[in-house]
């Protein structure tokens, strides 16, 4: 993990970092709230939080346009919120409320809102996202397609099928690999042979690899790649070495506590200590906490999604 020294920032750069800090801390507090509330039974099923990885979602998606299309995975709350998703709607979705992002039907891993999609089959999103890139290219919309993967996702064959096609057909696709070194309980040494970037380069897709939790650096890199994808109508890959502080899902963490403690030093929130004063960070954190609690409270008050709604839940064909 690297961290840059203090550099002179312009006003607009400072402002952007401030906004990114706010986004990251909102994601952090949202995810912590989720983990805290699961034992109370207010949330259904399971969830996969991205605590520690917030800089990836925020850094990359703040470089994207709102009409760029994002396809995420089981660990997608950060991506959802960073792409403009509504916090209360996400809480409500996890609670199975009718005001949820998908009316309570999808839950944590199956979200759709605006230009955001997610699904819980590892790797399955990759060809879909590639098809989305194809559609946007055909429609000449100027939008690009971004898919988020993990190190574990690279075990799925359909990923490689998609890379081949994206490169062959010159699709406006950004493949993001968040390498947090673990796939559920399995460390990367037991899962992955060879190099991650070489996999993409084998298909003729240029890949950039970052080893940082500094949102500013991730943002700059993403901005350059996104620009290339959009301008050249070609795929690119961004690999970010990262680490999650939270368990894979709710309580399943067999990693060495010392290792986790080591990476906590590089908490993306701490990496902005040089940019934002303690007072400012504290104020922003307090505001974020308030926003998260209020969103949760509102979602709690909403009615549950009813199943017997005839057409709404029927899968009979429409015509």
């Amino acid at each position: 993990m690297s961290s840059s020294g203090q550099t002179q920032l312009t006003e607009s750069q400072s402002q952007r970092l401030r906004e990114q800090f706010v986004q990251m801390i909102e994601i952090r507090l949202f995810e912590e709230k989720i983990l805290h509330e699961f034992p109370t039974g207010k949330l259904f099923g399971t969830t996969h939080t991205c605590i520690g990885q917030e800089a990836n979602a925020v850094g990359i998606l703040s470089a994207a346009r709102r009409d760029d299309v994002v396809f995420s995975n089981h660990r997608g709350h950060g991506h959802f919120l960073a792409h403009g998703g509504d916090m209360k709607g996400l809480f409500a979705e996890l609670m199975g409320k009718e005001t949820g992002v998908c009316g309570g039907l999808g839950g944590s891993q199956h979200l759709q809102w605006n230009n955001f999609y997610s699904n819980g089959i590892l790797g399955g999103a990759v060809p879909c996202a590639t098809g989305i890139a194809m559609a946007e290219k055909i429609k000449k919309s100027g939008a690009i397609s971004i898919v988020f993967m993990g190190d574990g996702t690279l075990g799925e064959g359909v990923v490689y099928e998609s890379l081949n096609i994206a490169s062959l057909w010159k699709l406006p696709m950004l493949y993001v690999v968040e390498n947090n070194r673990y796939a559920q309980s399995t460390p990367i040494e037991l899962n992955l042979a060879g190099s991650i970037t070489a996999r993409f380069e084998a298909f003729g897709i240029p890949a950039v690899e970052l080893n940082t939790t500094e949102v500013g650096i991730i943002h700059e890199s993403a901005r350059g790649l996104i620009d290339e994808v959009r301008r050249l109508q070609e795929p690119r890959c961004l690999v970010v070495e990262t680490y999650r502080f939270s368990p894979h899902s709710k309580g399943d963490d067999s990693r060495d506590p010392e290792e986790i403690a080591h990476y906590r030093q590089y908490d993306p929130l701490l990496m902005l200590n040089d940019v934002l004063s303690e007072k400012e960070r504290s104020e922003l954190a307090t505001a974020a906490e308030k926003k998260v609690l209020e969103a949760f409270r509102q979602a709690e008050g909403d009615p549950y999604r009813q199943v017997d709604e005839g057409v709404q839940t029927s899968l009979e064909p429409e015509n």
Partner: protein, 337 residues
């Protein structure tokens, strides 16, 4: 009259002409080859920007089509042999079929996957199967099969341009060479057709005694059943009523029920393996819907639950024949439940 192959080619061409959001994806579909079964002949020449030859990646091209459909296009994927449908099963089961429902109807997935199933050409265990039964009953996906009694061209055009739900279009290899039937040549049979994009066809003997058995089938098996109907009528004096379904799943049993109420017996015919097949579901539903007094006999004609051997003679023994249909129909009409 045109053959089914020509109808399908025309249906694809018409869809491309009518709707600029239609795109075709498949392996080896470019001219001059025009697809393994020539269904695509002439299309890539005429519509070069919308006919895409793909690498051999069934899973990815199905997923690609899902993504394209989500974003406003109408993709049509060819899976070269129905046996290869296994390769794209995850995309169909866990993505294509579920997007509309789990995303609370915020999206639509108007895609079509077409694929040829069927044996009787000696292609062997992995190129001869009729395994559409593994796609039936997946909530959110429609499975349909054309036959020679309706217009496969119109059915394909509707599936592609009108049907906004994901549809799997099952063709039979031996159907490609068959002519579409001219109703005028079926003078002794009355042909009734229901409405809708995937019409059901009912064949009844005109001026004959009340039918005593209903035969339900789809796709290529309608050819075998039509022959069996004649043998049963002229050699055995057993008058059957045939219901040829175009939509296999979700199953709409009304036309079958109407017929069984007349005949009190139901025989189902399919080329897939007997166990857990289409016939099982149809018979179960009819049993659920009718009082037991209304049903005097049931039978299933299907392939034996074995892989399909390459040797033609063995293949013929394993797959349903006209004679199998006649024999089981005779047994069913003689037995009483």
């Amino acid at each position: 009259m045109t053959r089914v192959l020509g109808e399908l080619n025309a249906g694809l061409r018409e869809s491309l002409e009518m709707d600029e959001t239609v795109h075709l994806l498949g392996e080896d579909i470019l001219d001059p080859y025009g697809g393994a079964f020539k269904v695509y002949r002439g299309l890539s020449t005429r519509f070069p920007d919308r006919v895409h030859t793909t690498p051999i990646s069934e899973a990815a091209i199905t997923g690609l089509a899902a993504g394209m459909a989500l974003r406003g296009l109408k993709p049509v994927v060819e899976i070269m042999f129905g046996d290869f449908m296994a390769l794209c099963h995850d995309q169909l089961l866990n993505h294509v079929s579920k997007f509309k429902w789990m995303y609370n109807r915020q999206v639509r997935v108007p895609l079509v996957v077409r694929t040829p199933m069927g044996g009787r050409r000696g292609y062997g265990p992995t190129h001869s199967q009729s395994i559409e039964k593994h796609l039936l009953g997946i909530p959110g996906i429609r499975v349909v099969a054309p036959n020679t009694f309706i217009s496969p061209r119109q059915m394909l055009v509707d599936a592609i341009t009108k049907d906004i739900d994901p549809t799997i279009f099952i063709e039979h290899k031996l159907l490609y060479g068959k002519h579409i039937r001219d109703p005028r040549t079926l003078s002794e049979l009355s042909v009734e057709q229901t409405g809708g994009m995937y019409p059901t066809v009912e064949l009844t003997w005109q001026g004959a005694p009340r039918p005593t058995i209903t035969i339900a089938c789809y796709g290529f098996n309608a050819e075998l059943v039509a022959e069996a109907m004649e043998i049963l009528a002229f050699e055995e004096e057993i008058f059957s009523e045939t219901v040829v379904l175009a939509q296999l799943s979700p199953l709409e049993i009304e036309p079958v029920l109407r017929s069984v109420l007349k005949t009190s017996r139901l025989l189902t015919v399919e080329e897939g393996g007997r166990s857990f097949g289409w016939g099982s579901e149809l018979i179960s539903r009819v049993c659920e819907a009718l009082p037991s007094s209304a049903l005097n006999g049931i039978g299933r004609v299907a392939a034996r639950d074995l892989p399909i051997p390459s040797s033609r003679k063995l293949e013929d023994e394993l797959l349903p024949s006209v004679d199998d249909i006649v024999q089981v129909a005779l047994q069913t009409t003689k037995a009483n439940r």
